[in-house]
């Protein structure tokens, strides 16, 4: 290590000067070697293990009893395309943003629409529903995108719907790549563009992933924000209502204030169901009316 002074370590910590706390410890006594050696001696070392980014939730070692279901991670809309490299693997693009909510419900939407962006699916990324051709994969062949992506979801992006610029979508088989000798296919666009495009999409995945994490950590704050917003709209609506009434008044059109409106009455003086202002009373009506022998609400509206 290129350090200036490989000193013996940091000064002693304040808590090290104090004696140890009494009582039995639930820990095994520390080993006297270095951390690396003690891990290796225990046989648990696994140097340089790369963590796969997919389906981590299903690991066998998962033995805790969670008090709530773990939400799907935003990035589980996996970007297979870029993971496995190939450009034209539009699955990567599809799953770019999300569409778990839309894509899976819509199924083949992506393929008919060619909506790389919106048609994709794999929020759940177990098999995935409709994916889509990159651009305008039209007609039957474009549907290839749809079938492929269902493989793609599980296989990890080998299914490619190669959308050419002409809107001629070629659905390749689950293992199929782009066949350079296929006369129906135009040569692929320069990889530079696709790769950079996929990088942009990867950035978008990251972006939404991080935004989602922040919202996750701020459940309350986000809820407050949304309810404040809704309240604002609500108030705004009332303000506009009052303003409109005022303007109408100025124009000489008299609108009845709401309170004075007389609801059409049903039998026993009960308001009819599904009246906007009578609704509430309808629910409570029969209960309140019963002891009084009916008509308990007769005078409510002040007529």
């Amino acid at each position: 290590m290129a350090t200036s002074q490989p000193s013996g370590g940091s000064p002693p910590k304040p808590w090290e000067q104090e004696g140890n706390t009494s009582g039995p410890k639930p820990f095994r006594p520390p080993s006297n070697t270095s951390t690396a050696d003690s891990v290796e001696a225990s046989g648990t070392a696994n140097p340089g293990e790369l963590v796969p980014s997919v389906n981590r939730t299903n690991t066998a070692a998962n033995m805790n009893a969670l008090s709530r279901p773990v939400p799907t991670r935003p990035w589980e809309q996996q970007n297979y395309g870029s993971t496995y490299g190939g450009y034209g693997s539009n699955l990567g693009v599809n799953s770019g943003y999300g569409s778990g909510t839309y894509g899976s419900a819509l199924g083949g939407y992506g393929s008919s629409y060619g909506g790389g962006m919106y048609g994709g699916s794999s929020m759940y990324n177990r098999g995935g529903y409709g994916g889509g051709g990159l651009y305008g994969s039209s007609g039957m062949y474009g549907g290839g995108g749809m079938y492929n992506s269902s493989f793609g979801g599980t296989m990890g992006g080998y299914g490619m719907g190669m959308g050419t610029g002409m809107g001629m979508g070629m659905g390749m088989g689950p293992y199929g790549g782009q066949d350079p000798n296929d006369p129906f296919n135009e040569p692929p666009s320069p990889p530079g563009f696709w790769i950079s495009f996929l990088r942009v999409m990867q950035g978008a995945v990251n972006f939404f992933g991080r935004v989602a994490m922040l919202i996750d950590q701020n459940t309350q704050a986000f809820h407050m924000f949304m309810s404040a917003l809704l309240q604002l709209f609500d108030r705004g609506g009332m303000l506009y209502g009052e303003l409109a009434r005022f303007v109408l008044r100025m124009l000489g059109i008299r609108t009845k204030p709401r309170k004075m409106q007389q609801p059409p009455q049903g039998p026993n003086g009960l308001p009819l169901p599904h009246q906007p202002h009578g609704n509430q009373n309808y629910i409570e009506g029969p209960k309140a009316a019963a002891p009084g022998g009916g008509g308990g609400w007769d005078n409510v509206w002040g007529n």
Binding site: T3, K13, P14, T21, K25, T35, G48, V51, R56, L214
Partner: protein, 317 residues
Amino acid sequence: MPVFKAPFNGYSVKFSPFYESRLAVATAQNFGILGNGRIHVLELAPGAPGVTESVAFDTADAVYDVCWSESHDSVLIAAIGDGSVKIYDTALPPPSNPIRSFQEHAREVHSVDYNPTRRDSFLTASWDDTVKLWAMDRPASIRTFKEHAYCVYQAVWNPKHGDVFASASGDCTLRIWDVREPGSTMIIPAHDFEILSCDWNKYDDCILATSSVDKTIKVWDVRSYRAPLAVLNGHGYAVRKVKFSPHRRNLMASCSYDMTVCLWDYMVEDALVGRYDHHTEFAVGIDMSVLVEGLMASTGWDELVYIWQQGMDPRAS
């Protein structure tokens, strides 16, 4: 009290364990959502209420956490948003840095902690649900701890036991690990919501605290972990970090999305002993100096780093 204005949003601040006037700050552009990151090394001017930047390192993605090496006074380790872990030598100029970069995590690395007893290894916790153990003299991680079912937000070494650490995760569990054991040695379902942070008591190595999205801090004893020793209410939103004092047994500090920094004494009934509202955005980074009792630092999304003495107003200059 010194204030440093960073160009990006602050994410973490750590005092050097070697020099009482030195600290490192991890920052990220655009609130850490998209963009670059920067690590600042700050020096407190002796006597004067000022702080100067001695060196800064740019990164290609957000820096979420930083920690100082306990064995080399100029070495610091950064947890980067692109899943990499980078080691910097502050004695070298920025072009020769980082001196190492490890790319093993699949997702954002959210915390890094240096082993304070053995001083030869460090832990990283990542959103890929794993914790990794690294040694300075190894070219790759030594071991990966995969048990959490959701992002791991923080992993912290036990201050007295070089083989034991704790990890706080979004799967609502706190886990205690021994690096020699194949699996976690204890699983504490500590909160009903995501746990964002944890820290060990420095004077009783069986006690640790967790902080959560449910706005509370809970103090646990690993010898009887069925119920918490204390539940500290007072923050208005999720509590982002919790940290035990290196000098006083019962004291701890926390920072929260409610933009405040709080001080707690978990042994007394009115546990909240101090509240600082100097940040104008989310307060997400906090540290207490090991070398100077009562010296605190905090940072947040308002791009400011405050360093102040406990009991003083951080804004007073």
